[in-house]
């Protein structure tokens, strides 16, 4: 048991060290959310109003969710990378169980994704979106819950992919639908939203994550789609299922 925990810890630590040392990735990760918030938020917001909220305010939790989605799924790349460079073998033949290996990697990548999410929060402050420390700390656990399932999804996809190219292709295929159907960019409860879109978004775990983030960040100004506890329950179920699937995927990996 101790061995498993220590194995898990060391794999978690490795993901974080690698992430922090990779400056280009860190810097490029600043860029995309900034574009969305500044250009899209301002441009689109000129024609878009919600009662009691500016569009930028509305958009902000959505972009936090989007950042978590993109970075989490992208983390799957570490599996392919480790396989290409042979390091995966060292991990897989160790006496540590596949469940711990998966969890170690997953927690590590989630922590990385969380750091990215935190950076978006800093942008929010700069852009004048009212976020106090309390909302930030209340958002952290929700952000973490969102990343668990998504990172697991990314790791699972990557464990089936042979190359970087095929992973990249499949990733886009998953990323964009999840993003567009999550309510990150426009309210799903708005008038004129067709039923098929509303229904499709109900099958998207990120919808519940983004809604939960809005409840916490926007407070009373936001009328949630679901009560907070329902949102969190759905995200937790998604996490649990994806962790199960991911562990299975790692168990069959050679």
């Amino acid at each position: 048991m101790m061995t498993e925990l220590r194995g898990l810890y060391t794999l978690w630590l490795r993901e974080i060290k690698r992430f922090v040392r990779d400056r280009t990735r860190l810097i490029s990760s600043f860029f995309q959310p900034l574009l969305w918030l500044v250009i899209f938020g301002v441009g689109f917001g000129a024609r878009f109003t919600l009662p009691g909220l500016s569009y930028q305010q509305y958009l902000f939790p959505g972009i936090v969710g989007q950042t978590l989605l993109f970075t989490s799924l992208f983390m799957g790349i570490s599996v392919i990378w480790d396989r290409e460079f042979g390091f995966m073998k060292e991990i897989l033949v160790s006496p540590v169980s596949r469940f711990s290996i998966f969890l170690g990697k997953m927690f590590g990548d989630s922590t990385d994704a969380l750091m990215q999410g935190t950076i978006v929060f800093a942008f929010g402050l700069l852009l004048g979106i009212p976020v106090d420390p309390l909302t930030f700390f209340a958002s952290l656990p929700i952000m973490l819950l969102i990343t668990f399932g998504l990172v697991s999804l990314g790791l699972t996809i990557a464990s089936f992919m042979g190359s970087l190219e095929s992973f990249g292709a499949v990733q886009t295929f998953v990323n964009l639908p999840l993003f567009f159907l999550s309510g990150a960019l426009f309210p799903l409860s708005g008038s004129g939203i067709p039923d098929w879109l509303r229904i499709a978004s109900m099958f998207n775990p990120l919808t519940y994550g983004v809604d939960a983030l809005r409840s916490v960040i926007l407070g009373a100004a936001w009328v949630p789609l679901q009560p907070l506890y329902v949102n969190l329950a759905v995200v937790c179920v998604f996490d649990a299922v994806m962790i199960g699937v991911g562990t299975w995927a790692f168990t069959r990996m050679k």
Binding site: M2, T3, R6, G7, Y9, T10, L11, L13, R14, K17, R18, R21, D22, E84, F85, G86, F87, K89, E90, I91, L92, V93, S94, P95, V96, K254
Partner: protein, 337 residues
């Protein structure tokens, strides 16, 4: 019965008809070997002989299609976990994280193999000393040379005090000087630690210099297994080396008139394995002059492993059949050479 049990326990590795088939192709075919405590056991064979596949089964990475094996008394299928804890592995291809430092790689391994936290610092210092990487321990792996990386992998495989160390082509793709260096560590290891080493290689000199016993493997089967001196003795004789203007013609002549068939041409030199070299040499000279073949030099030498391999397989291990490292690891290793 008890006696038999005790005897089986004394072998560090023991295989029974160990077989791995990929579809219908048998990469390893009914392997029966035993490896003894504290020996260096060499598995020598050309590329594709099945060496890596054998090691992969013994390390519980691949499941045998048929047959069984025990490592340190543990069954490789039923007790895979215990096998894993008791062995160290240096893979054929690079397997270190080059974005971490040498020391970080070692700590990670210690944690993965459950070395108690209180012992880790001391053990890692000890290993770094052994592989002479103390002064580079805190540099990122990507700044290491190919030989240094290999040494780190070697040291890493030892951290958790394994009883058996598997080395799959430990010096593949390294320059001669670095190879000498690695050989030195392997020999020192055997002296200093209570450890058994299983080594695969397609380099004759490597198998010869390091192994206590050598199993020559080809097409998934062990062809012959013995100590290097005995292997050479089985050839019962000498190798005559003839450098001549037209070695191919001479080769045919000695076959036809002197009945010598164990021969090959290496770099324009005809090498013939014979029982009594001193008696045969004058007759070769005579034959050559009768047929107007100009002989530049004639030498006698002891048989080496290359001759042994030729004797048993009818082929030579060709260097150019060296399997290239795959993908990224190939680029990686080329870049550091």
């Amino acid at each position: 019965m008890l006696n038999r049990e005790a005897e089986q326990m004394s072998h560090v590795i023991e295989t029974h008809k160990l077989t791995k088939a990929f579809n219908s192709f048998r990469a390893v075919d009914a392997l029966d070997i035993t490896v003894e405590h504290r020996e260096i056991f060499g598995l020598l064979g050309p590329n594709g002989a099945g060496k890596t596949t054998t090691i992969s089964m013994l390390c519980t990475i691949l499941r045998p299609t048929f047959g069984s094996a025990k490592v340190n008394g543990f069954d490789i299928v039923k007790e895979a976990h215990k096998v894993r804890k008791s062995i160290g592995i240096v893979f054929q291809d690079p397997s270190i994280d080059d974005r971490l430092t040498g020391r970080e790689n070692l700590y990670m391994h210690a944690n993965l193999y459950g070395v108690p936290a209180s012992e880790q610092k001391e053990r890692i210092a000890e290993i770094l000393k052994l592989i002479e990487l103390e002064d580079r321990a805190d540099d990122l792996l990507r700044t290491y040379s190919g030989g240094m990386r290999r040494r780190l992998e070697l040291g890493r495989g030892l951290i958790h005090y394994p009883k058996v160390l598997f080395l799959d082509e430990p010096t593949l793709g390294l320059d001669p000087q670095t190879r000498d260096h690695i050989w030195k560590y392997i020999r020192e290891l055997k002296e200093a630690q209570d450890i058994t080493v299983v080594l695969t290689t397609h380099y004759m000199d490597e198998a010869d210099k390091l192994s206590d016993r050598i199993a020559i493997m080809d097409h998934g089967k062990i062809i012959v297994l013995d100590t290097p001196p005995s292997l050479k003795e089985t050839l019962e004789g000498d190798v005559v080396m003839v450098k001549a203007a037209n070695v191919e013609v001479l080769s045919e002549l000695v076959g036809k008139w002197l009945g010598l068939e164990k021969k090959r041409v290496v770099d324009g030199v005809l090498e013939i394995t014979v029982r009594n070299g001193k008696a045969v040499m004058p007759r070769i000279m005579e034959l050559a002059s009768q047929n107007n073949v100009y002989v530049e030099s004639l030498l006698l030498r002891e048989p080496n492993l290359e001759d042994v391999f030729l004797h048993y397989t009818g082929r030579t291990i060709r260097e150019d059949s060296t399997r290239e490292l795959y993908g990224m690891s190939a680029a990686q290793r080329r870049a550091i050479r």
